[in-house]
C-alpha cells in the first residue's frame, strides 16, 4: 500500500513539475519513462531472475525485500516522468484537425457553420444554458448581399428599385478531431427550450476564445475552459448566432441515458414538491444543478463558507453511500450481495451530477471501502483512506490530467487528506488542551473574538488582522494547554463530549487548518470567518436534506399513485430544513464580516504545509529521520554500499540545487515602482506601488444592473494578489461613476488611509438631493443643466447614467463617514506624499466661484514621480495639456479616450514617451441609453483606436491588452501587458 501511495505521489509530482516548469517536450518525458523503467527492471531482475525464470512467484512475494530500493527509486522516477508526459501530451492542440488549429488561422469575425453533437445535458446558468458541443465538421460561411439584376431589359428600363438577396458562400467542411465548443444559449432563442443531450445540432455564428488572465490576481477563464477541453465559445443570441437541432439521436451510452433519466425525473419531483428558491437549493445539492440559484443566496454561501454544499462534494456521495447501506441493512440483504449495487449507485450518482472530480473521487473511495469490507475483510485486509485517495487521484488524473490545476480537484483531494491525516491528531490535541480551566479560557477567548468582530466590524480591515488573530489563538491555546496540564481533575472537558461530537469537531479543526484556511486564501484571497461556526450547523443539516431529498425524489419519480403525494409530504418537511439552511447562511453573512486575505504564493503555501506537518507529526518525523540517518550511517560503513550511497547523495543534491535554482529563477525582482493600469472595462483604475506603499487612482465602475462590480472583481483581487494589507491613499480623478463607484467594495474590505479628491465631498455622511447633485456636478448635459439653472425642477433623473452617478456619489459620502476616512480636496500645486512615489497635482487650477465641478473638464491631472522618472496621469481631457504639463513624461496613463485627440496626439509626438496606456472599453447598452454623449462616445470608440495604431509611440488599450503594467527598475522603465498580442 505504501509503495502504491508513493508511486501516486510521484505521478502527481511529475505532473506538477510539468505545470511549474512549463515544459513542452512530451517526447523527452516519454523517453525518460522508458529509460527509468528499464533501470528499475535491472535490480529487480538481478534479485529475482531465478525465481522469475522458474515461475516461482510465491518466493518473490515471500521475500522481505521483494522490491529492491533501487527498483523503487527508479519506479518513482518512471511514474514521475510518465505523469509529466501525460500532462504535456494532454495540452497539445497544434495538430491538424484540432479546433484551435483551424480557428487560429482566421480572425474572430469569421462566420462559421459547425455541425456537432451535444456531449452532455445542458446546464442552466442564470439567463442562459451552457451547452457542450463536440464539433464534427466545421466550415467558413461568407454572407454577401448581392444585387439581383431585373433580368429583362424591360425591368431595367423601368428603373425599378434594385433588388438584393443574400448569397451564402461556404468553404468545404473540415472534419474536427479535437477541441470542444461551449455554446451559451440565451433564453430569448427557440433553441433554449429544445436542446438536449446527444442531439446533432448545427451552429451558425462567430466563435470566440475565452479571455485569459486580464488583471493581476484575476481568474484565467481561458485556462479553466481548456482544462475541460473547451477551445472556443459561441453566444447564441437572436440575430447574432443560431443553433438548430438537426437530429435527436436515441443512441449514446445506456448508463448515461439512464442517469439522465433519473436526474430529469427527480428534478420534476423537486419542481412539484418544493417552491422556488428552495427548489433551486435542493436541485443544487442533490443533482449538482448550480444554475437557477439566486445570486444573493450564492453570495451568502460564499461569505459563510458553506458553498461546498453546492459543489456536490464527497460529502454528498458519502451521505448517499451511508443511506444505501442503511436501506439494504434494513431489508436484511447481505453486504456481499448489495456491495456491487452500492458501487453502481455511487457511480451513477456521480454521472447524474455531471461527473465532477470531487464526486468521482468520493465514488471511487467509498466503493473501495464497501468492496474491501464485503470481500476482503476475511483476508485481514483493511482499506486505508490514503490508499483509496491515491487510487482515486491516479484514476482522475490519468483520465483528465489537466484537472491537476483546477481548484475544485485540489480542494476535494486536500479535504480528504486533511481529514485522514489531521483529524485524529487534532482530537488528541483538543483532548489535551481543552480540560477544566483550559477549556474555559479557550471557549471564552473564542467567544470574545467573535463578539469583537461582530461589534466592531472594521477590526477585520486592520492591516495585521490575520497575523494578530493567529497570534491571539496561538497564545490562547498555549495558555489553555498549560492550565489543562496543571489541573489534575476536571468536572468538564472536551473528552466528556459524545464520541461522534468529538470526532466531528476535530474533523472541523482539521479541515480548517489543513484545507479551508490555506487554500481559500491561496485560490480566492478570502477567508470566511463565519465558516467554522456555520459549518457546525451546515454539515449535519445537509446530511438530512440530501437523504430526505433523495428518498422523496426516488419515491415521487418511480412509485406509482402514492409516490408523488408521499414525496410532497417528505419534501414539505425537507423545506423546513432548507429554509433553515438558507436563513442560517443569510444570518451569518450579515453578522460576521468576510474579509480579504493577502493571497500567498505557491512557495508560501508549501512552507505553511511543511510547518503544519512538523507541528502535528514532530515526534513521528523525528523517529523517521533518526531511523533513516542510522540506516544510512550503517550502510556508509559498508564498503559495498558506499559508492552507491555517494551517487545517490550526489543525485539528491543535484535535484535539490536544481529545484532551488529553478524556484529562485521564478522569483521576480521587485521593481522600485510599479504602475498598473487595470482593465476595468468602461472606467479606470490605476494601481501604484512603491516603497511598500500602495495607492489607487480611481476604482472602476460598479454597475448594479449588470451585476458587475469592478471594484470587487478586479481591484480587490489585484490588491489581494499583491499582498496589500491596506491602501495608503485613494485619489479620485473626478466624481464620474465609472471612477468612484467601484471604491465601495474596496473600502469594505481594505483599510483606506486617506482620500484625495478635486471635487467637494462632505464627511458628515448625509446624502445630498438630486437637484443639489446636478447643480454641483456638470456632466456636459447642456439641456438638462440649463433647465436646472433656470429654476425648473429636474424631477426624475434623466438617464440610468445620471442615476448611477448620483447614487455613487452619495454612497461615497456615506462610506467616507462610515469608515472615518479623512478626505482632502486638492488643486493644482498640491503634493500628495503619503501615496506611492511623489504625486503632484497639475490640474484643476482652483475651485470655481459657484462651487460647481465639471466632470469632464475639471478632472485631476497628476505628475507621478519616483527617483528620476516621471509619469503623467490624464483624466481624458487633453485641452489643458500644453498649459499644465511642464515636464517630459516617461509614460502616460489616460483614464478615458483622450479628447481632443488632435491635441493629445500633438503632445504625445512632441514628448515621445515610452508608451501610453488608455483605459477604455465601450460601455454597456443600458449605460448608454438616453445618455447625451452616446453618439460622441460611439464615434470616438470607432475611430480613435485605429488612429492610435498610426502613432510612432506604442499605445496600449486595456480593452485589447488587459491590464498594462509599467515597472521602474533601476531607473529603467519597462511596460508589459497581461493579454499578449495574438497576431
Amino acid at each position: 500500500m505504501l509503495t502504491f501511495i508513493l508511486l501516486a505521489l510521484a505521478f502527481i509530482c511529475g505532473m506538477a513539475f510539468a505545470v511549474l516548469s512549463g515544459a513542452t517536450a512530451s517526447g523527452l518525458f516519454l523517453l525518460l519513462t522508458g529509460v527509468f523503467g528499464l533501470c528499475a527492471a535491472i535490480p529487480f531482475w538481478y534479485r529475482h531472475s531465478s525465481n522469475l525464470l522458474s515461475g516461482n512467484l510465491a518466493a518473490i512475494r515471500e521475500d522481505e525485500e521483494a522490491l529492491p530500493v533501487l527498483t523503487l527509486v527508479f519506479l518513482l522516477l518512471t511514474t514521475g516522468s510518465f505523469g509529466a508526459f501525460r500532462y504535456i501530451s494532454e495540452l497539445r492542440h497544434d495538430y491538424r484537425g484540432h479546433l484551435q488549429t483551424i480557428c487560429e488561422k482566421h480572425d474572430e469575425n469569421t462566420n462559421w457553420r459547425i455541425r456537432g453533437r451535444i456531449l452532455e445535458e445542458p446546464v442552466l446558468k442564470n439567463d442562459h444554458l451552457e451547452v457542450l458541443v463536440q464539433p464534427e465538421t466545421i466550415r467558413r460561411v461568407d454572407r454577401k448581399r448581392v444585387r439581383v439584376d431585373g433580368g429583362s431589359e424591360e425591368s431595367r428600363s423601368r428603373k425599378k428599385k434594385p433588388e438584393y438577396e443574400t448569397v451564402v458562400d461556404q468553404s468545404e467542411a473540415e472534419p474536427v478531431t479535437g477541441g470542444l465548443i461551449l455554446a451559451q444559449v440565451f433564453e430569448d432563442t427557440d433553441a433554449f427550450r429544445e436542446v438536449r443531450f446527444n442531439q446533432i445540432i448545427e451552429i451558425d455564428g462567430q466563435l470566440s476564445e475565452a479571455s485569459e488572465r486580464r488583471n493581476p490576481g484575476s481568474l484565467d477563464y481561458k485556462s479553466h475552459l481548456r482544462n475541460r477541453g473547451i477551445f472556443r465559445t459561441v453566444r447564441i443570441v437572436p440575430r447574432k448566432a443560431s443553433l438548430r437541432v438537426i437530429e435527436d439521436v436515441e443512441g449514446g451510452s445506456m448508463w448515461y441515458r439512464f442517469a439522465l433519466h433519473v436526474k430529469t425525473e427527480i428534478l420534476k419531483v423537486i419542481k412539484q414538491t418544493m417552491p422556488f428558491p428552495e427548489s433551486s437549493f435542493l436541485g443544487g445539492v442533490l443533482l449538482g444543478l448550480k444554475g437557477g440559484l439566486p445570486a444573493k443566496i450564492g453570495n451568502e454561501f460564499r461569505m459563510t463558507g458553506v458553498s461546498h454544499v453546492l459543489a456536490v462534494s464527497g460529502l454528498h456521495v458519502t451521505i448517499i453511500a451511508g443511506l444505501l447501506y442503511g436501506i439494504f441493512a434494513m431489508l436484511r440483504v447481505p453486504l456481499r450481495v448489495f456491495a456491487p449495487l452500492i458501487v453502481l449507485s455511487l457511480f451513477t450518482f456521480a454521472l447524474i451530477v455531471g461527473w465532477p472530480s470531487s464526486a468521482v473521487r468520493a465514488a471511487i473511495m467509498n466503493s473501495l471501502f464497501v468492496l474491501s469490507r464485503a470481500y476482503l475483510v476475511g483476508l485481514g485486509f483493511k482499506m486505508s483512506v490514503l490508499f483509496s485517495l491515491s487510487v482515486a487521484c491516479i484514476f482522475i488524473l490519468f483520465m483528465s490530467p489537466l484537472q491537476l490545476t483546477e481548484p475544485s480537484f485540489t480542494l476535494s483531494v486536500m479535504a480528504i487528506y486533511a481529514l485522514a491525516m489531521f483529524s485524529e491528531p487534532s482530537q488528541a490535541i483538543l483532548k489535551r488542551m481543552l480540560r477544566g480551566p483550559g477549556l474555559l479560557v479557550a471557549a471564552a477567548a473564542t467567544f470574545f473574538f467573535y463578539l469583537a468582530i461582530i461589534a466592531v466590524k472594521s477590526l477585520v480591515l486592520h492591516p495585521y488582522f490575520f497575523p494578530l488573530t493567529g497570534l491571539y489563538f496561538f497564545v490562547t491555546l498555549s495558555l489553555a494547554s498549560r492550565l489543562s496540564d496543571r489541573s489534575t481533575f476536571q468536572s468538564f472537558a472536551f473528552e466528556m463530549l459524545p464520541g461522534w461530537l468529538q470526532s466531528f469537531l476535530s474533523a472541523q479543526v482539521a479541515i480548517l487548518v489543513a484545507m479551508m484556511g490555506p487554500l481559500s486564501a491561496y485560490y480566492f484571497g478570502q477567508f470566511s470567518l463565519a465558516s467554522p461556526v456555520a459549518n457546525l450547523i451546515a454539515i449535519p443539516l445537509i446530511g438530512l436534506i440530501v437523504q430526505l431529498g433523495l428518498i422523496a425524489g426516488l419515491i415521487g419519480a418511480f412509485v406509482p399513485v402514492i409516490g408523488m403525494p408521499l414525496a410532497l409530504v417528505l419534501n414539505a418537511a425537507n423545506w423546513l430544513g432548507v429554509k433553515f439552511f438558507l436563513g442560517m447562511a443569510s444570518f451569518f453573512a450579515i453578522l460576521i464580516p468576510f474579509p480579504r486575505v493577502s493571497q500567498p504564493g505557491f512557495g508560501a503555501l508549501l512552507v505553511y504545509y511543511l510547518i503544519l506537518h512538523l507541528a502535528y507529526f514532530y515526534s513521528d518525523i523525528k523517529t523517521w529521520v533518526l531511523a533513516i540517518t542510522a540506516a544510512v550511517s550503517d550502510l556508509w560503513e559498508d564498503d559495498e554500499y558506499r559508492n552507491s550511497l555517494a551517487a545517490l547523495g550526489i543525485f539528491i543534491m543535484i535535484g535539490l540545487v536544481g529545484s532551488g535554482v529553478f524556484a529562485l529563477s521564478g522569483i521576480e525582482r521587485t521593481p522600485d515602482m510599479r504602475l498598473t493600469m487595470l482593465d476595468v472595462g468602461y472606467g479606470s483604475s490605476l494601481l501604484l506601488e512603491a516603497d511598500g506603499r500602495v495607492a489607487l487612482v480611481d476604482a472602476g465602475l460598479n454597475d448594479p444592473l449588470a451585476g458587475s462590480d469592478r471594484g470587487e472583481r478586479v481591484v480587490q483581487p489585484a490588491l489581494s494578489g499583491k499582498q496589500a494589507r491596506e491602501v495608503h491613499a485613494v485619489i479620485l480623478s473626478s466624481a464620474l461613476p465609472e471612477r468612484i463607484s467601484g471604491l465601495r467594495s474596496v473600502m469594505a474590505n481594505y483599510r483606506v488611509n486617506k482620500i484625495y479628491v478635486p471635487f467637494p465631498l462632505p464627511e458628515d455622511g448625509r446624502r445630498i438631493s438630486f437637484e443639489d447633485y446636478a447643480r454641483t456636478f456638470l456632466h456636459g448635459d447642456l439641456k438638462f443643466e440649463k433647465r436646472l439653472k433656470s429654476g425648473m425642477n429636474a424631477g426624475v433623473p434623466p438617464s440610468y447614467f445620471w442615476e448611477l452617478a448620483f447614487d455613487s456619489y452619495n454612497q461615497l459620502i456615506e462610506d467616507v463617514y462610515r469608515y472615518k476616512i479623512p478626505v482632502q480636496r486638492v488643486k493644482a500645486g498640491d503634493k500628495i506624499l503619503d501615496a506611492a512615489g511623489v504625486i503632484e497635482v497639475l490640474a484643476p487650477q482652483a475651485t470655481t466661484t459657484d462651487g460647481s465641478f465639471q466632470q469632464y473638464y475639471d478632472g485631476l491631472i497628476l505628475k507621478i514621480s519616483h527617483k528620476e522618472r516621471n509619469y503623467l496621469f490624464l483624466p481624458g481631457n487633453a485641452y489643458k495639456l500644453e498649459e499644465v504639463v511642464n515636464f517630459k513624461p516617461d509614460f502616460i496613463f489616460v483614464a478615458d479616450l483622450p479628447s481632443p485627440v488632435e491635441a493629445f496626439e500633438k503632445f504625445v509626438k512632441s514628448q515621445n514617451p515610452e508608451g501610453v496606456a488608455v483605459s477604455y472599453r465601450f460601455p454597456s447598452s443600458w449605460l448608454m441609453e438616453n445618455y447625451h454623449l452616446a453618439a460622441t462616445i460611439t464615434s470616438r470608440s470607432r475611430s480613435y483606436p485605429q488612429r492610435f495604431k498610426q502613432w510612432p509611440v506604442k499605445v496600449y488599450m486595456t480593452s485589447e491588452s488587459g491590464a498594462v503594467q509599467v515597472d521602474q527598475t533601476r531607473n529603467r522603465v519597462q511596460a508589459s501587458v497581461f493579454v499578449k498580442d495574438q497576431q
Binding site: 433554449f192 412539484q272 414538491t273 444554475g291 442503511g326 436501506i327 441493512a329 417528505l570 414539505a572
Partner: protein
C-alpha cells in the same frame, strides 16, 4: 448485548436512524401541509416556472 450487536453491525444504527427520519419527516411534512395552504403541487409548479424551464412536466399534475 444490544450495544455489542450495534457495534458489530453498523447497518443497524443506520436502519434505526432511517426509520426515525422517515417518521419525523412524515409528521413534520404533514404539519407543513396543514398549516401552509399554498404548499401544493400546483403552487410549487407555478413558482418554479423559470427554474429549468426546458424540463417539461409531462404529468398532468395541475
Amino acid at each position: 448485548m444490544s450495544e455489542n450487536k450495534s457495534e458489530n453491525d453498523p447497518g443497524a444504527d443506520g436502519t434505526k436512524f432511517l426509520i426515525l427520519l422517515m417518521v419525523i419527516s412524515l409528521l413534520a411534512g404533514g404539519l407543513v401541509l396543514v398549516v401552509k395552504s399554498d404548499y401544493r403541487v400546483k403552487d410549487n409548479l407555478l413558482s418554479n416556472l423559470e427554474y429549468y424551464p426546458h424540463i417539461k412536466q409531462e404529468k398532468g399534475t395541475d
